[in-house]
């Protein structure tokens, strides 16, 4: 599949797509996050969004109490404050209710400044040859 077709499929997709930006608050492991939700190429508004986080290697045992997101200033934007237990990779779980019900799982690497997407599922190899 070439790039254009991939892009097209993303635009046409009826399942919601999400993008996340987080900034560290200064308090240990607490982040202010802004979530952009898109659906079918348009901002998804009026959704009821809850943000949780799991540790990828122990998803059932290490999870963070989810926070309700509030609508932001831009269309399709939602804001939430995340309180994690440590730095490193987290699987962010966005639960959507309202016009669309869904659960989106995104992988982000959290450091002392903020978060950047990690290619979800990449194994953290201790050793590199």
């Amino acid at each position: 599949m070439d790039k254009a077709a991939l892009l097209l499929s993303l635009v046409l997709a009826q399942t919601p797509q999400a993008d996340l930006r987080c900034v560290a608050t200064g308090e240990d492991f607490v982040y202010d996050c802004s979530i952009m939700l898109m659906r079918g190429g348009r901002p998804l508004e009026g959704a009821d969004v809850t943000v949780g986080a799991d540790m990828p290697s122990m998803p059932m045992a290490h999870s963070v109490r989810p926070a309700k997101a509030i609508p932001g200033t831009k269309p399709g934007e939602y804001r939430a404050r995340l309180d994690l237990e440590m730095l490193g990779e987290w699987a962010i779980k966005l639960r959507l209710d309202g016009p669309v019900r869904d659960l989106l799982v995104l992988h982000y690497e959290f450091d002392s400044k903020g978060a950047k997407p990690s290619m979800g599922g990449q194994k953290m190899e201790h050793k590199k040859h």
Binding site: A13, M58, A91, M119, K123
Partner: protein
């Protein structure tokens, strides 16, 4: 009940399935480091069937359980004569192989114009059956709870039957069990298949609860945790593993009293507990005492 409480309760239920599968092998005297593999087999098989081929979840769950049973049966066939650490290591090797095979698994199909399906280390997104069918979190918890109750009922029934006595007999002294005419290998093979099915059931429910799975969900951490839950809860009754899960996830994780220190507290508690109760809180003696007290 808020979403978080629902999530925690559902996780307790999901974990109980794999802890029970570890328990089933433990009472017959075998320690497995590999139950996570069959949990994973169930998760992947169930997810592929519902998300890629449009199977209804109940049917997919049955197929996943059958596959889990078959997988553990095949692993058990050449390894059941091994004892102790040898068996544990053989199951660990099998489970790590399974995890790497999940990493190599690319099974992508176009669903509604989107590519879906397992994508190696990138994981498997969009196992959305319960959302497509409008199942609320509370309903899903109900489904998990009812299935767990059924499994527990089956355990209680089996443990009171002759088969239960046979299993414990094999666990205590396989030579003695063989000498009274029990076909130990056959019983253990059946047990392995049952444990595989049980873990796979947990896996398929987990995949649909989370909508997303990836290979490292099924690494040794999950397997050893389930073993630990079974042991600290107690080897005297099938409620033991449930108690173990409840103690860790239900009490320590969800109350968040030890936010950030939880594993330090839990690890210390487990080690100290095992000094005094090496077969767990609800061990055989405790179960006997409770029965005498309340019957």
């Amino acid at each position: 009940m808020d979403d978080y409480a629902l999530g925690v309760l559902t996780n307790i239920g999901l974990f109980s399935f794999i802890a029970l599968s570890a328990y089933l092998l433990l009472i017959a005297g075998e320690m497995s480091f590999g139950q996570q593999a069959f949990f994973g087999v169930g998760a992947y098989a169930g997810g592929i069937l519902t998300a890629l081929y449009g199977w209804p979840l109940p049917l997919a769950a049955l197929a996943a359980m059958a596959l889990g049973a078959l997988a553990q049966f095949l692993v058990a066939l050449p390894t059941l004569r091994l004892r102790g650490l040898y068996f544990a290591m053989a199951t660990l090797a099998a489970a790590e192989m399974a995890r790497i095979l999940f990493e190599l698994l690319h099974w992508r199909r176009s669903i509604d114009g989107e590519l879906a399906g397992p994508d190696g280390t990138q994981g498997f997104r969009g196992i959305r059956w319960i959302f497509e069918h409008g199942i609320e979190p509370l309903h899903y918890l109900g489904i998990v709870g009812v299935l767990l109750a059924l499994v527990l009922g089956l355990f209680v029934f089996v443990e009171r039957s002759k088969l239960g006595a046979t299993l414990r007999g094999i666990g205590q002294d396989p030579e003695l069990a063989a000498s009274v005419g029990i076909d130990v290998q056959r019983v253990k093979l059946g047990l392995a298949a049952a444990a595989g099915a049980l873990a796979a059931l947990g896996g398929v429910l987990y995949a649909h609860h989370n909508t997303y799975i990836e290979p490292r969900n099924f690494d040794i951490m999950l397997g050893v945790h389930s073993l630990a839950y079974a042991l600290i809860g107690g080897l005297g009754t099938a409620f033991g593993p449930l108690l173990g899960v409840l103690l860790d996830i239900g009490v320590l994780e969800s109350t968040r009293v030890f936010h950030g220190y939880r594993m330090i507290v839990f690890g210390g508690l487990v080690a100290v507990l095992l000094v005094f109760r090496p077969r767990g809180l609800l061990d055989e003696r405790m179960v006997l005492w409770i029965r005498q007290r309340f019957s």
